[in-house]
């Protein structure tokens, strides 16, 4: 049977893509951020997951307001990035695992999650930046991917409780897959930031640190945060914390924190990185 070995979190700020392209790892602005990743690389080298479920939020590439899904699950053979409006270079596609995607989709719909299945899905920086951060050389150990996206563009966004429950159901689905494979779940985006309005530039270290603490041992406490309270405390785009909740739900009740890093600011954002290992 498939095993979920753990979860990784990271912010997925577009500027990180540029910094990687320019190899700014030791630049004083970037060093405190990139210093969080060698410990993740070590954990990945030790555990070598076969599949990565990448939970992210589309920022206006794959989905527009004409058809805005609450939860979408990729079911394609491969996933390609595309121009998001700034002439971003097109990368090699990321190989998918559609058989496992469909297994998850079957389970989710059976358990009353009303997902949108995506047999073709261009992926944006929310997906590619985490992949670049965790598997910078795209070597043979890079896992096959299943992108999962939640709506943070158009209110109403899903509740934190629904996001967590979505993750729990998805974790059950993965663990019921008959192959002996190792799966890692990525929760990407956040932490606190706000791009729009007179409050642009809002960052909330206390709230971010509380979230990073609670998500380890008491994620259920976080499900009680209201959606508007989340906007108020994490900033308008800090709602991306929903992706972390989905990831956390998939890991099971008990997890161990392997490593973490938090740094303000990267671009407009409080950036958090974690490795959470699932109990065997």
């Amino acid at each position: 049977m498939a095993t979920i070995i753990g979860g990784l979190t990271t912010s997925h700020i577009p500027a990180v893509g540029n910094a990687i392209a320019k190899k700014l790892y030791d630049d004083p602005y970037w060093k405190p951020f990139f210093d969080g990743y060698p410990a993740v690389h070590q954990w990945l080298a030790d555990h070598k997951p076969d599949v990565a479920v990448v939970i992210y939020n589309d920022h206006g590439l794959a989905f527009f307001l004409d058809q805005m899904p609450t939860f979408a699950i990729g079911a394609a053979h491969e996933y390609q990035n595309a121009d998001e409006g700034w002439g971003i270079p097109v990368m090699d596609p990321y190989p998918g695992y559609p058989e496992l995607s469909w297994h998850i989709i079957e389970h989710m719909v059976e358990h009353e999650f009303d997902v949108t299945s995506c047999q073709e899905l261009p992926v944006d920086h929310g997906f590619t930046v985490p992949m670049q951060l965790f598997w910078p050389d795209r070597g043979p150990d890079m896992p096959r991917v299943i992108p999962v996206s939640a709506n943070t563009v158009q209110h109403p966004i899903p509740t934190l409780k629904r996001a967590y429950d979505f993750g729990r159901a998805m974790g059950d689905a993965i663990r019921a897959w008959p192959e002996d494979i190792k799966v890692v779940v990525l929760g990407t985006g956040g932490l606190s930031h706000q791009l729009d309005g007179e409050r642009a530039g809002f960052i909330n270290r206390d709230f971010d640190e509380m979230c990073m603490e609670k998500i380890v041992d008491d994620p259920v406490a976080l499900t009680r945060i209201g959606r508007h309270e989340l906007v108020e405390k994490a900033g308008a785009q800090g709602t991306e914390f929903l992706m972390w909740m989905m990831m956390r739900g998939a890991l099971g009740d008990k997890v161990t924190k392997v490593t973490e890093n938090y740094h303000i600011p990267i671009s407009n954002t409080g950036a958090g990185t974690m490795v959470l290992e699932s109990a065997a």
Partner: protein, 120 residues
């Protein structure tokens, strides 16, 4: 039939929740900005912004906000920041330039404000 009040709109200072009310107002503006994922569309807009805006049926307040490149006015006219960021990109504006404009700072002041948040 009169238009009923829309009950789900909440108020957070300095923040416009992009909910149904905003979405109804902003659809054409957001649709235009979404089209900028395509380089040919960006070129067409740059070549003739007025014609491009008319093609997407922008309202007058939306057109005026785009002409003056005023992000707060775009938001007021129903723009969503994720789509507006693509418009801003055409003018070479980063999210920090956009943040500075909205908060009445220079971009350097805005960046310094963010660095200060890191020192707290």
């Amino acid at each position: 039939m009169e238009q009923a009040p829309f009950d789900h709109h909440v108020s957070i200072p300095g923040t416009t929740l992009f909910d149904g009310r905003q979405a109804m107002k902003g659809y054409q503006l957001n649709k235009m900005c979404y089209s900028f994922n395509d380089g040919d569309n960006r070129a067409a807009f740059k070549a003739d912004p007025e014609a491009y805006m008319t093609k997407f049926k922008l309202t007058d307040p939306q057109k005026e906000a785009v002409r003056s490149l005023n992000v707060l006015k775009m938001i007021e006219a129903g723009g969503n920041i994720y789509y507006l960021a693509k418009l801003a990109g055409i003018f070479g504006l980063s999210v920090q330039d956009v943040g500075a404009q909205q908060t009445g700072m220079t971009t350097d002041e805005f960046k310094e404000k963010l660095l200060a948040a890191g020192r707290k």
